[in-house]
């Protein structure tokens, strides 16, 4: 097992919590955004946990977090960026390739 390598799995997405966040955001229709509390309830994650993972996705440029005011109350909206959408597509392709060819030779790091 240890000498078996896998195709590049984007480490930003390849973590249970961030993968769940990414799948949920990718499920939104194109151009839509979701509020932080609704996303939190969809994923059943704590606010702190969700914030931590959103920040990592945001730092990678995969997620766009915006603040708006509705009746003087701040509302946080979250959406997948174009880069994030593409990264998720690539990630899924990599996972699929891995499942189809479990014995892929190790890749050289560039």
């Amino acid at each position: 097992m240890s000498d078996e390598a896998i195709p590049d799995l984007d480490p930003v997405i390849h973590a249970q919590a961030r993968l769940r966040v990414t799948v949920a955001l990718a499920a939104l229709p194109d151009g839509d955004r979701i509020t932080f509390p609704r996303l939190q309830s969809l994923l059943a994650m704590t606010a702190g946990n969700l914030s931590t993972h959103l920040r990592k996705l945001e730092d990678a440029g995969y997620v766009d977090v915006t603040k708006a005011y509705r009746r003087r109350t701040p509302v946080t909206y979250v959406a997948l960026t174009e880069t994030g959408r593409r990264a998720f597509t690539d990630y899924q392709a990599a996972v699929r390739a891995l499942l189809d060819h479990p014995g892929l030779p190790e890749r050289e790091e560039k």
Binding site: A5, I6, L9, H14, R38, L99, E106
Partner: protein
């Protein structure tokens, strides 16, 4: 794949301390996609089912009470049945739609709101036009056929619009069927028009409810 991406070993621990294999990752994607999709979309099956029951019982009661029909039910009993059933049937999609769209903003919310308003505007215009026509003097049998036929026409067109909006063939086909029912109800005459709505209309809704259940019809 892309350069600059780190190669990580299978079974490497992620931030949660939980190792995630490719199989587990794929399973998680499928499971989450289903679970999130179910909650972000409106399940059409219960909506069609409620409308099916409303048509079957509501218009069935109208048929049973209509002059020229079996007259086994008083008109005073049939009218409240229709009103209550319609109130419930209108409320169900509004509640389900609001619950699914909660916290979501963007183009889909706009088209959804426009679709919802189209129902209200269509029926308001229908009410105005029919009331105006009736004031010009229409025979009682013509009046009921006018209501059943035109209401069904608007309903059919709205389902065609829904089919276009969500690129949903099941939705669109229901619209086509409702247009057939609209025309059929007028040709059936009075009180047969009520029976056409109850059986072909209500039965159609129930059939499409089953279809949505099988195809996972959501919008």
């Amino acid at each position: 794949m892309q350069s600059g991406l780190r190669v990580i070993e299978m079974g490497e621990r992620d931030d949660d301390g939980v190792p995630l294999s490719a199989e587990a990752s794929m399973e998680l994607i499928e499971r989450e996609r289903r679970s999130v999709g179910r909650r972000l979309a409106v399940n059409q099956a219960p909506i069609f089912a409620v409308w099916g029951v409303t048509f079957l019982i509501g218009w069935g009661a109208c048929y049973l009470a209509a002059p020229g029909g079996p007259r086994v039910l008083a008109v005073a009993a049939a009218v409240p049945i229709v009103v209550v059933l319609y109130a419930v049937a209108i409320a169900v999609p509004i509640v389900l739609g609001a619950r699914a769209a909660k916290g979501v903003r963007g183009p889909s919310r706009l088209s959804g709101a426009m679709y919802g308003w189209a129902w209200a505007l269509g029926f308001l215009a229908l009410f105005a036009i029919n009331t105006g026509l009736i004031r010009q003097g229409l025979a009682p049998a013509t009046i009921t056929m006018l209501w059943t036929g035109t209401a069904q026409l608007v309903t059919g067109l709205m389902y065609l619009a829904g089919g276009m909006l969500w690129r949903d063939r099941v939705h669109y086909a229901l619209g086509v069927w409702m247009l057939v029912v609209a025309a059929g109800s007028v040709f059936a005459g009075m009180p047969g028009d009520f029976l056409v709505l109850a059986l072909a209309g209500g039965g159609g809704f129930l059939l499409w409810s089953g279809l949505s259940l099988v195809t996972g019809g959501r919008r």
